[in-house]
Assembly symmetry: none
Homo-oligomer: 328 residues x 4
């Protein structure tokens, strides 16, 4: 396993990590979750990603039970939670980024995960109804109390992250260390364009999600629509299905598959390696519902070396979506 610094921070995170979204406490049995975590840990994965909202809190309970059952040193892994959407039950002060919810949600996550502190704690979305200042302060309070080690954001705009950095500076607090954006061959703008100055000037790290573009780049939709996918399993993901599984995107997936074939690798591994090649990616979060799939994807680092300039140019020709800053 390769380890990378989380942005400019000193924290070393495995280049590939394991997320529990849609799977733990939901799409898969707890036993499978246990197997997945064990495989990952044995392969050197040190980061397990979670959130209060995943399976309404159950994802954290499942992961907490697994962590509890293992003999893994607390120092050997990094575990996260995220606050914003609320776990079950919902309530008027159980969502968003108010100090009350940020703090109460942390306490609840610590309990569900059965740990004394979170390594990473994310603001899962921006909250227009709470001043960023209040959230930055709340994160710091938790940090000073030893309940979290690093805090960050997920799917915030560059502007909002800059606001959080400014507020932290102004009040002499610890600002955000990382952002968790969506990033894949299909969804590139935030990481390759919008965040450029955040990387250059502020050293933000990234823990990217959906590197396979919701399964599109697994190649499973290349020929026909299979039955046993997350879109079949979880009805509420219809919006994502519509956005990702367009004919145009599936056509791209087919062409990328051809490139993978030429390189003697698989499409998903090509897609993951392509993400890993971006120096602003600190870690690629893998989702997995099957052990075999995870084992396969964990070898994606081997493919990064194959991505020379020629291959990258060929991929770019297929993708046709390189984001550009405004020209004058």
């Amino acid at each position: 396993m390769e380890y990378r610094r989380l942005g400019k921070s000193g924290l070393q995170v495995s280049a590939l990590s394991l997320g529990s979204w849609l799977t733990f406490g939901n799409q898969i049995e707890d036993k499978v979750a246990d197997e997945l975590m064990s495989i990952a840990y044995e392969q050197g994965v040190n980061f397990f990603d979670n959130a209060e909202a995943y399976a309404g809190g159950k994802s954290e309970i499942v992961m907490g039970n697994i962590l509890k059952s293992k003999s893994w040193d607390r120092e050997s892994f990094i575990v996260s939670s995220k606050v914003f959407f609320g776990a079950e039950p919902k309530g008027v002060n159980r969502v968003g980024l108010s100090r009350k919810h940020v703090i109460e949600a942390c306490h609840a996550a610590l309990k569900r995960l059965q740990v004394d502190y979170l390594d990473l704690y994310f603001c899962h979305r921006p909250d227009k109804d709470t001043p960023i200042e209040e959230t930055v302060w709340a994160m710091n309070t938790l940090l000073q109390q030893g309940k979290i080690l690093y805090w960050g954001t997920s799917e915030w705009s560059a502007y909002e992250i800059r606001e959080a950095i400014a507020v932290a500076k102004e009040y002499h607090l610890i600002g955000p260390t990382m952002e968790q954006p969506e990033y894949s061959m299909i969804e590139r703008n935030k990481l390759e364009n919008e965040y450029s100055m955040l990387f250059r000037d502020h050293g933000i790290g990234t823990t990217i999600w959906s590197p396979l573009a919701s399964g599109l780049l697994s190649g499973k939709y290349n020929d026909s629509r299979p039955d046993d996918t997350r879109f079949s399993a979880i009805k509420s993901l219809g919006w994502l299905e519509n956005k990702r599984l367009t004919e145009e995107n599936i056509e791209k997936a087919r062409k990328l598959k051809a490139i993978a074939d030429e390189l003697g690798t698989s499409l998903p591994k090509l897609a993951l390696a392509w993400c890993l090649k971006n120096p602003h990616v600190s870690t690629v979060i893998l989702g997995a519902s099957k052990t075999q799939q995870l084992k396969e994807n964990l070898t994606a680092l081997d493919v990064v070396g194959l991505l020379n300039d020629d291959v990258m140019a060929k991929i770019e020709e297929v993708l046709q979506n390189k984001p550009e800053a405004p020209q004058f």
Copy 2:
């Protein structure tokens, strides 16, 4: 129930809330207090207001016992205390806003209320004999320790609140979030005039008390002086009785009653709705000694919509007390 942000903060507070002043541990039986809190909670009230000085500390004990007896999640309610006047017994360092008293009073309130933290903690009055700096620091210490979530003031001048904001800024601390001023059709200057720039420039929220002007706007004094009032029950309130129950004010109450009649509502509901209409009111604290009275007043939000420009003008004509900023 409608929920409002507490000023610019991210905390959502019910537009109507329940206070224990003069009633809990004093004018009413604990059983009635329990019924009042249950009714309020079921109607969506999420804020219960208290203070160390209410009934010499007994008000917090009563409320703490009730909270303990319920199965309400801690996340679902907001509970406050206030420091300044001291609970019983009094003592030289048991009053005011010194660091010793602010911190010791918080500990005592947590014990009486049987909670791990207060959501809101108020400086009940300004303390001329303690630097505001010392109090702001003490509040921050409690906040960083997780013993309070938001702190504020009650009956401070705009200048004093601005001093606290400036001190917090200077030392990089968390400043006051809210103020608890008296506000009603009869007592308007602070909220409508003195605090204007605090609202505009600093986003202070308000949890207003005495919306019925010490019972004047309940209408019970409109015809004659009844026997079973707080003024009969609590002898020490003579000063308030003299200030509120003037012939001029009672005449206003009679005319407002006529307006309420026309709108098909009651005088107290009209008076509460009028407070709720002010956008700088985060929550109106209701006092109640009878369940029927509370149930009735909790429907005051329905009346806000009736207060159109015409009705507001009629009310203004009766009140003749609109505060104005100095003209040049």
Copy 3:
């Protein structure tokens, strides 16, 4: 004429103002420029917009001569310049936002405009090769020297403006007051979406350009391509011509013309009034090559009152380009 605050600043700027881009020193005779400025000033316009790059510096020379020839008090008007592209001749340190160029360009603009100070001084574009810190400091140096009164940006991203605000705060300098973005019915994203938090949290004002979308909303392209346009006159604007004069946009212009007809006004006045209705627009910069055209457009404020909810909805239906913040 209506006057508006330039964002949160205390400066009052006429809601309609006159810009010299493409016209002064270029498309029009100096005599016409003089007539245009006189008409504007007499109608209450108090802001005249300029830049070092307009006509390679000639635009400022023309405007300076006109200002010199009038008996207008310096207090009665606001004049701007912008730095980035350089005037003629160009040179390696005659472009960009280095301290050397920001300061030298200001001196040159003061000379060309024959004034002692600029009211507004804009960074005409962001400069990736100069730290924002250096530019903010340079602006402050000029401000403290009395050579400029307010500084701002043009076509910067929200992130970049936030960076400038943060740097100013950190070093205790005066941050940017205004931004000059393109804004019209056709180009809406920056003003209606990207800058939202800059308006809400930082009070940035805007002096918008191209309110008629490069002439598209004058209606002159509705029937056929006329000969005497800026696109005929200035060959280098081909990129703009291609971007604006699409068949889709011309079709929109035709439909908007029908709405203008119904309201008994003209298409350009409708388009200007629509910009003026946005509360985040401090002033709409008019370009004009003919006196009649300017006189007509200066009456656009009369149309704002006609834009009720129904009309706005009809316009939205034609435009189909309302920007939206990301939804979760």
Copy 4:
């Protein structure tokens, strides 16, 4: 003459000073103005108060001509101007406290007064349409440029002054040194109550105006309404006449006259001495239209020693208007 520090500053100001409001360039001949300034200067007065708005700018022109004609060292006197209301001609950016007006008004005042710098520069009123931050910055710019030495406010609320102090602190700028409030036996609240903490905690000095309550305490209205007063001369002062010359106030003036008689002094000297006795008064600004009147009033310092506790108590009994902070 006695000299006092202007608040906590090191500037020594004569306890009695000369103001030009209503007289210079208006009610009196320039020759009389010259005589008044000469008498004052010879008696040790070192502060001459002025404002852009006094007589539409003429007051400063008259004073400037007088200062020019004398051989007084620049170091031997203190001269002020005030910005807010504008001189003639008025204009949209020629009033208020925007950076443009604060700076342009300073330049204009320097020209009218024919001096290189103002010793004191006041914000004549608060400006709700300009951020206090912008005004504080503008004052500092002038101060750094050497165009003013101290800046302050006039008739601002304690809150607004505290805001200015906070902003100055936050940006590391020079905050306000003094305030010019109305103060007399009749108008006491600001100086004796509202500003208490400004004096105690921030060392603000005061240059008080209208110590004779618009002439009421000259005693000239004690018997009948004379013809040759400012109220006869300047019709626009009707509002002030109505506020001051009430029967209640005139009755007070009569009783105070009796006390003055007992002390063997005059009513105006008693009234001035009473102001001088307040330690928070840095200087009492005298207005005068006649040389005799000025000579007389300049001896008021002799009376301060007569104001022992008994006399002060007697005066208080007459006034019945001692301001009090709220009691709890």
